[in-house]
């Protein structure tokens, strides 16, 4: 099993430890999933823990998506917020009363059927969001195909800004009399998630949201692992390592790169569609450039290209951002008689963390097997090795 062997290779913190027994990795994965699944039962909603965890899981999906582009294929994408925006906009368009003169209802509850606007079942919205984002990913990918490294970063950064400005000013852009977005005011409320067309999730009980996000993480994890150990994953890594050699070995660069953009974008769109519904609003202020950096920082903190590292990085940074800084430690400067709150410094703290990471552990918290082995010497031969199995 790909999932299992992967866990074995990546889950070790120290390389020099003796090899773990073969049952260890599936067991560890099962325990992790189980703990994550029952965790919200031990917390009250008022503590805010479930809320923070749900966001952390949604960002994990985002980070795993970006990892396909940046980690696997090595294409530095600084405009990832575009896919959050497009995914969230899809929920605004297709599951709210925003287009009040339309009257479309597919697979939603009786109550929602009585509301004006377009109300599609959330599963449909996710599929639409993923398709839109994959298309947008290809569009953003095309001008970068002739570029390398830093130049790709600049073009993608610009694309992210274009989407942000589009959302901000979309209330002025109209098709007929229908605006495309609601600008800063935001599209709100947005339908809660309901898989079966019954009573949708609401803000009074966040646990179903949490479990939905957890399910998304598991699905995206599965896709990531399968993709990495496949013909396509090898081609992406080959391009990352040496584009010229990859092309000379028969890897079509254009198609392979565009597939990585599209795949990463589709995962980002799925997370965006979740966040749109969960946050219950889609407004321009959600889509700041700093969001792209936030997600990128998760990947770098966890270990570029390492699937498990990215999960750890996303969870750690989300909790630092949404819990540790604004809740737990926010009053810290005050206790020293300083007149500011820690939350005002959050990006400074992130920057500091990244610098510390780069100095102490440049390969990330849980580095990719390849990079790890590169740093240690000659351990490939005797290690239990992840292999692409039939």
């Amino acid at each position: 099993m790909a999932v299992a062997t992967d866990k074995a290779a990546q889950g070790r913190f120290g390389i020099r430890r003796p090899a773990l027994p073969p049952w260890f990795s599936p067991a560890a994965a099962a325990v992790c999933v189980l703990v994550a699944a029952v965790l919200p039962l031990f917390f009250q909603q008022a503590s805010g823990f479930i809320d923070d965890s749900t966001l952390a899981l949604a960002y994990t999906v985002m980070a795993l998506g970006l990892n396909v582009v940046v980690g696997f294929a090595g294409l530095l994408d600084l405009g990832y917020l575009a896919f959050f925006a497009i995914g969230a906009l899809c929920t605004g368009w297709f599951s709210s009363g925003f287009y009040g003169n339309a009257n479309v209802h597919v697979g939603v509850s009786k109550f929602q059927q009585s509301l004006p606007g377009i109300h599609l079942n959330w599963l449909l919205v996710v599929v639409i969001a993923m398709l839109f984002c994959a298309l947008a990913g290809v569009i953003i990918g095309m001008p970068t195909l002739r570029l390398r490294g830093d130049y790709i970063a600049i073009v993608t950064l610009a694309f992210g800004e274009i989407i942000r400005v589009f959302v901000t000013n979309g209330d002025e852009l109209k098709i007929g009399s229908n605006p495309l977005t609601a600008g800063r005011a935001g599209i709100s409320p947005i339908d809660g998630i309901s898989f079966t067309g019954g009573q949708p999730f609401n803000q009074l009980d966040l646990r179903p949201w949490y479990w939905t996000a957890l399910g998304m993480v598991l699905i995206v994890l599965f896709c990531n692992i399968r993709l990495r150990d496949s013909r396509l994953g090898r081609a992406w890594i080959a391009i990352r390592e040496d584009e010229v050699a990859a092309a000379s070995m028969g890897v079509p660069l254009v198609k392979t790169k565009l597939l990585s953009y599209a795949t990463g974008a589709a995962f980002g769109g799925a997370a965006g569609a979740f966040l749109g519904a969960y946050l219950n609003t889609v407004n321009a202020d959600q889509f700041a450039f700093s969001f792209s950096i936030f997600i990128l920082a998760m990947i770098i903190l966890g270990g570029l290209g390492s699937i498990w590292g990215v999960v750890v990085g996303a969870v750690v940074l989300s909790f630092i951002n949404y819990r540790l800084i604004p809740d737990t430690l926010n009053g810290l400067p005050g206790t020293f008689g300083l007149d500011f709150e820690l939350a005002q410094l959050s990006f400074g703290i992130f920057g500091f963390l990244l610098v510390i990471m780069m100095v102490l552990r440049p390969q990330g918290l849980l580095p990719e097997r390849r990079r790890e082995m590169e740093l240690e010497e000659h351990i490939g031969a005797d290690e239990q090795f992840v292999q692409v199995q039939a």
Binding site: R234, E241, A247, M249
Partner: protein, 264 residues
């Protein structure tokens, strides 16, 4: 001689009056060249003569400024590198270009990319045909690594951790894995000692005889060139100055001049 005539003579590759101009620099000037099927031919010349540029045009990394290239009677003049590989041309690089953080085995599996079909959904869901394909490709990669003489326990080492000679071997295995009918080797003996060079010479003969390949090498080691080539082409300043059997080329005054300078 026209293209058709050359092709009919059983040439696997024909370059017809190919030039490459970078800005004002003429790197390759009006070179015509053919590789007969199941033969080993060499291109030699002083540094900067345009050998590697010519190589890069044959493999699609550069587009020729003028001229045509036919492979297997098909025009591949402006084809993308991956399509040329798919058509059956494989190459190695002067300075080894393995995928450093992939294992030897994975490197060779990448070489089979164009012989595989799995797409994005196939990769995620792995239906039986994709599983079979992966198994086949893994097995083939192992065979290729064995064929070039890599030891089994090195198959799953990272390419970057292999010794120089083994990296050369893996690079050849990777090229062979793409199922070529023409193999281009860019200075394959660079950095090798005389024994290793001799082994490689034997190996090239094996490639031709056992795998029925045609080989084109760029090489500086005259012993290798003279020992293995059926025909030698000499480039200097981007132009073809001599062509023929090794002994004849070695005696050619123009060649001596290009290498040693004018005498007297």
């Amino acid at each position: 001689m026209s293209d058709q005539a050359q092709a009919a003579n059983g040439n696997i590759l024909v370059a017809d009056r190919v030039s490459k101009i970078f800005g004002g620099l003429v790197a390759v000037n009006d070179v015509s060249f053919a590789i007969p099927r199941r033969s080993i031919v060499s291109i030699i010349g002083p540094n900067g003569a345009g050998k590697t540029t010519f190589f890069n045009m044959l493999t699609g990394l550069y587009k020729p400024s003028t001229g045509r290239i036919l492979f297997d009677n098909k025009d591949v003049t402006r084809a993308r590198p991956d399509l040329i590989t798919k058509a059956g041309v494989a190459r190695t690089f002067q300075n080894i270009r393995l995928f450093a953080t992939m294992t030897a085995l994975e490197n060779v599996m990448v070489g089979q990319h164009s012989r595989m079909k799995a797409g994005i959904f196939g990769s995620i869901f792995r239906p039986p045909p994709v599983r079979k394909e992966e198994a086949r490709v893994t097995e083939h990669a192992r065979e290729m690594l064995k064929f070039v003489g890599l030891r089994e326990r090195q198959f799953e080492q990272l390419a970057i951790n292999l010794s120089y000679g083994d990296q050369r071997r893996v690079e050849i295995a990777r090229a062979l894995a793409s199922g070529p009918s023409l193999l281009l080797l860019d200075e394959p003996t660079a950095g090798m000692n005389p024994q290793e060079s001799a082994q490689l010479t034997d190996f090239m003969n094996r490639l031709r005889d056992e795998l029925e390949l045609s080989l084109l090498l760029i090489e500086h080691d005259m012993k290798v060139v003279m020992g293995v080539s059926e025909r030698v082409t000499v480039l200097d300043h981007g132009e073809k100055i001599a062509e023929g059997e090794p002994q004849a080329v070695r005696a050619n005054p123009a060649v001596v001049e290009a290498y040693l300078g004018k005498q007297g």
